[in-house]
């Protein structure tokens, strides 16, 4: 049987898990109600269970004590009995669908922020500052150690009383337990530091206290690191010793293993490997731990594909695979395997939009699945067929917004035509995928291609939709997702011209798409500081150019998320790309064969010049509005969206008006019966998620 290794149930402690796939603990940032799990939280996990996920470990970094602040990441607060009824809702929702649910519990020690909420004094074994959160802390006292040990036990009790199936003690990501473990952070000379046994003591006391509190019929696991990747940190051999030490107690029901420590920006990027990493890069570390322990081992890091999961499990490297981002992208992953719809699985592309939002304290969302974590609003993962009359829907633009609009409208059962001026679908994704190690982002397009083919959407590629062609189709609804063009005309001094021969600057799109050949000595001016600038820098350097990337912002790539900018930096520094801040591109002029870029210091007003042979400017997107204004006056709704309905995930009222009308009635000349909507960058430049979200929430009611 295909995927038999995935679907082999497994016993963890006293618990039977129906398959080998786990949604591992991550901060959802949904426990917004003072650390209580909300309806959003429950629906998010219920959806995974409904989709067949075997085990969900929720609540990454859920806190057990009040001096481990909950508010920054809206994590679950287990420091109070108030949580118990909330857990009961959560457990019921997951159990109803045959899933199991546990929660990660922790004290984060120094790994937090102190400058808000209760203004806590953070704690750590030796008071050493944590760089990623820029957090200072006090040296923990004996009394506090015992209080926190007791807090762990009480938190575990609350999880058990709430009906959850287990707890995972976080001893990973440099939380308090592994702050004690790691000699890099623990410099104590009392019974809590120094020797191996002493460094182990705090975690061991926590384990003993928790087990004593919950008894044997409740799962208690530990999540540990497989190697901190710091010369002065815990090595893989250290971690094997630690795992075996705790395993020998017989009180741990499972181990979750993650490669890499994460108390620097660079190591943090390893923890949630983005698309630049190979598949399962740290599996060997988990396999090493499995070799020394007697209980099941879970491993999650870049496992996204059912075949990959099957291969890992079949090989016996670990007992369960975490497919967490894979479930964020598609919570029905398991169901689709079982339904024989593997081609319909929306696969995680490793864009890390989810985790990069989380590190900013924003709710976890998926770049390509706008329904994820919006289940509570009624946004569907599975689009039901409409009971309304079949409509003719015409979508213009094959970028993410247009593809999603076409998909959703076709799932609703309508007759859909999609125009795309390029020869392939994808829009800006196609361009973004050209940069080194960014090719996997094209997976977003790949899924849509398969879905649009499956749904028999009439694709008109290489075709520019003009007003006549559109009206000729006698559409009921026109959705414009035409995107825009690089905004190089904002400052005339840059010397941009539509005639490429005359233009002094080129766009990142020109370079990445191959329209303009890379120069040898290139200045990139990046006013946006998102992916395009650093991508083009990496691309040009990769082609052998000498590259300087300049921004007037804090730093190039400053708006790229916390798990992604480090991999750019690794590549850019290695290729000797110069990164310069605080300079604005004042002017470009031609001098002989070369170009002179005049840069102005934001803070001094001083000018400096660079002599180069190519100037690339990244200044965002200017919306393409021409077709919209050509159609606007003819449309029934004058192109307007009802924002209250849109934000409330309700149908656009104009759809109802159209619905009430007699179908097949003679229309007046020019097809003036259509509704007009626009979404994505052709309205205002935003991002992939914004375009897809707008398309889903608008088109789900077509």
């Amino acid at each position: 049987m295909a995927f038999d290794a995935i679907f082999e149930p497994i016993q963890i402690g006293t618990l039977t898990i129906r398959n080998r796939v786990v949604s591992t603990a991550h901060a959802e940032v949904y426990a917004t109600d003072g650390g209580m799990t909300t309806e959003r939280y429950v629906r998010y996990y219920a959806e995974k269970a409904r989709g067949g996920c075997g085990l969900c470990i929720c609540g990454g970094s859920s806190v057990v004590s009040i001096d481990s602040p909950q508010g920054w990441w809206s994590s679950v607060n287990l420091a109070t009995d108030r949580i118990i009824p909330h857990f009961q809702n959560l457990a019921d929702a997951v159990h109803r669908h045959g899933g199991k649910i546990m929660i990660q519990i922790t004290h984060m020690g120094r790994r937090s922020r102190w400058d808000g909420f209760d203004w806590p004094t953070l704690l750590s074994p030796s008071g050493i500052r944590e760089p990623v959160h820029r957090s200072t802390c006090k040296t923990i006292e004996e009394e506090e150690i015992w209080r926190i040990i007791g807090d762990f036990a009480q938190a575990a009790r609350r999880a058990k009383e709430g009906g959850l199936d287990g707890v995972e003690l976080s001893a990973v990501h440099q939380h308090l337990i592994d702050q004690f473990w790691s000699p890099r952070v623990n410099k104590r000379e009392d019974q809590w530091g120094g020797s191996f046994e002493n460094r182990m003591r705090f975690g061991m006391e926590v384990l003993k206290a928790v087990r004593a509190e919950v008894g044997d019929d409740f799962v208690v696991g530990m999540r540990i690191c497989g190697d901190e990747f710091h010369p002065d940190g815990l090595s893989h051999d250290d971690m094997k010793q630690i795992a075996a030490y705790y395993d020998a107690t017989g009180q741990v029901d499972f181990f979750g293993v993650i490669g890499s420590g994460c108390d620097t920006h660079n190591t943090l990027a390893n923890v949630i490997p983005n698309m630049s990493y190979p598949p399962e890069p740290f599996l060997h570390l988990a396999a090493g731990i499995k070799a020394v322990v007697s209980v099941p081992v879970i491993h999650a890091q870049n496992i996204k594909d059912p075949n990959q999961a099957q291969r890992i499990l079949e090989g016996g490297h670990v007992d369960l695979v975490g497919m967490t981002r894979a479930h964020i992208a598609d919570p029905h992953l398991i169901a689709k395997i079982k339904m024989g719809q593997i081609d319909q699985i929306k696969q995680c592309v490793g864009a890390n939009y989810c985790i990069d939002r989380q590190y900013q304290g924003l709710d976890v969302l998926c770049i390509q699945n706008a329904a994820t974590s919006r289940e509570y609003l009624g946004l569907p993962h599975i689009i039901e067929k409409s009971e309304n009359p079949k409509r003719k829907v015409v979508v213009v633009g094959g970028g993410p917004g247009g593809m999603e609009a076409a998909r959703v409208a076709a799932e609703r059962g309508h007759d859909v035509t999609l125009f795309e001026v390029a020869e392939a679908l994808g829009g800006q994704i196609t361009i973004a995928a050209k940069a080194p190690n960014r090719d996997q982002i094209a997976g977003i397009t790949r899924w849509y291609q398969l879905e649009l083919a499956r749904l028999n959407v009439d694709l008109r590629l290489g075709t520019r939709a003009d007003e006549a062609a559109l009206l000729d189709l006698r559409p009921d609804i026109v959705v414009l997702a035409t995107g825009g063009q690089p905004f190089l005309s904002q400052r005339p001094e840059w010397g941009y011209s539509e005639e490429s021969e005359e233009s002094l600057v080129v766009s990142t799109w020109d370079i990445l798409s191959g329209k303009v050949a890379p120069g040898k000595n290139v200045l990139i001016y990046d006013a946006i500081c998102e992916f395009s600038g650093v991508s083009v820098a990496d691309f040009l350097a990769d082609k052998g150019a000498k590259v300087e990337i300049v921004t007037d912002d804090i730093k190039p790539g400053a708006a790229v998320g916390g798990t992604t900018f480090p991999t750019y930096y690794r590549s850019l520094y290695e290729k000797e790309v110069i990164m310069t801040s605080d300079l604005m591109l004042h002017k470009v002029y031609r001098e002989g064969d070369g170009l002179v870029a005049v840069l102005e210091n934001e803070y001094t007003g001083g000018l400096e010049e660079r002599v180069v042979d190519q100037v690339v400017v990244e200044n965002g997107v200017r919306p393409d509005e021409a077709l919209y204004y050509a159609l606007k006056e003819q449309s029934r709704n004058k192109g307007q969206l009802d924002l209250e309905a849109l934000y409330a995930i309700q149908p656009q009222p104009c759809l109802g008006e159209e619905r009430g009308e007699e179908r097949g009635e003679e229309r007046t000349e020019g097809g003036d019966g259509f509704l007009l909507f626009r979404l994505g960058d052709c309205t205002a430049p935003r991002n992939t998620h914004a375009a897809i979200y707008d398309a889903l929430r608008l088109c789900k009611d077509f």
Binding site: N19, G52, G98
Partner: protein
Amino acid sequence: MLETLLPILIFSALALAALGASRRVRLWRQGRPSSVPILKGLAAMPRRYLVDLHHVVGRDKVMSNTHVATAGGFVAAAVLMILVHGLGLGSSESMGPILGGLLLAASAAMFVGSRFVARRRRNPPARLSRGPWMRLPRSLMAFSGGVFLATLPTLGLLPDDFGSGVLALMLAAVVVWGLGEMVFGMTWGGPMKHAFAGALHLAFHRRPERFSSKQGGRRSTGLKALDLDDETAPLGVGTPSDFTWNQLLGFDACVQCGRCEAVCPAFAAGQPLNPKKLIQDMVVGLSGGSDASYTGSPHPGKPVGEHYGTPYGPIVGLAGQALVDAETLWSCTTCRACVEECPMMIEHVDAIVDMRRHLTLERGQTPNKGAGVLDNLIATDNPGGFDPGSRLHWAADLNLPLMADVKQAEVLLWLGDGAFDMRNQRTLRALVKVLRVAEVEFAVLGTEERDSGDVARRLGDEATFQRLARRNIATLSKYRFQRIVTCDPHSFHVLGNEYGELAEPGIPAQYEVRHHSTFIAELYDAGRLAFAPWKGGRVTYHDPCYLGRYNGEYEAPRRVLKALGIELKEMERSGFRSRCCGGGGGAPITDIPGERRIPDMRMNDVKESGAGLVAVGCPQCTAMLEGVVDASAEVRDIAELVADALVEPPSVNATGSPREPVVKATAEEVL
């Protein structure tokens, strides 16, 4: 002159016929012994002919009436002819006019019947054999016309001296022709052989239980067990003489009407099997010779005239060709459409499985994936070779009660090997959901369950079948339950119809088995299920062979679909005429190539019905029909449709006391 000539001709013909009959009987008796109550059988024969056979023939009204006139006229005319012309009672003062008049009426009826036979022979459909059968209407007319005319002078309707001229000689010649075909030919071979062999076949049929009695008839579709402990018995049939004598007799009864050919899915798919030809091959084998004189459609792709055999020679050549090619035998899906349609009640499927047994047990020649599947069954007790311990993996989140724990339950839910198949697991989960909502007290055997043995048996591996069956019987004997419910018609058939023969003292093997559609219909009728109104499009229903033809359950699935609010669009071939999906009898495993695929043809039937969804009730049918590329219809098991439509049932039970709230500790979702 005729008065002298006719008795001589009649008694000569009868004498020659008797000689032929004894020769024919000797040919049949080359077969192995089979104890048949001879007198009881002969006594039952008229009823079997008039009721059971005509039940089949009567499906074609014109042909039925034709046969009544022709055959009835002939039997009456023949008897009266012997009395009137043979024994000279025609000249008796008292009886002559009456008998003569009756003879005229009988031969006239036969003549009218033969005109209809002749009409059908004008542009005969492809399924009919040509050759001697083309002359049959003329022979019938010769006999009936000749007798009629020869009787006229006897009654004084023509002058007495009419019987002394050239005309009389010509008339005698016509009568000779008629007698030759109808009397001599009946036992020496020729189209009329079917009357003689057919009558005896009905009397000595190896499945007497197939026939109706005054108490009503029942189906007899289970294969008969090989006695593996009998060292003298061959393991299956390797030569024509390995068949029992009454099987050989049955083959000889074939009337070559080709109804089997017309309904055979393998034939339609261009696979090398024509059931009619196969029976004729056996007839060739029983007397020895080649198939060159066969005049019907061949096994597709197998030219006529290249095969030959003898009663004691191999049916399937050890090297090169013999009577039949092995792939002909492996093309059969055991769908029983041929048996269902055969007016002579011949048992094609029994014969095919008998010959497969020889190929598998004696020669180890189960083709393609067959041998591997049998190896899997031997090693793992399931055809896919899956880890036997993984039989319940699909239900890890359902907390199914195990018989080993509960010891007794109202319903034993038999899972079948579909438990290893991801598609069928959805059906099983749906069925579990239905049972839970209806609050049925049920349990499963879990890993104690083995493959039912269906595939092994139909691939000819009787030994593996019996081993699996005995093991299952032993397991079942440990527990108490009222009935077995299963969503697999193959398990249903084997458990219900084939295990019984293997019962041993103290270990009964008679079970009340229900197909899930039957059980769901009962639950619905009892008010334990309620459904939301149907919102989908057009639906048709595909009758699984092992549910319909094998077990006669055509109605319950339709009742369930009706309860769901579905108005069925029946396919042209439905009910007892349903076309096989191609999945039975191990056919997908032996996988004999044809020109088309059987499931493709079936999905085309679905398409022609205009339905966008085909409801099924069999894991094999689901797999076969879902395997069709670019199908126009969705395939759903009835259990899935029911599970999707479930709404809260009327809550108050019979006693009016509220039921215990159901603990929802198990997965609700159907995946």
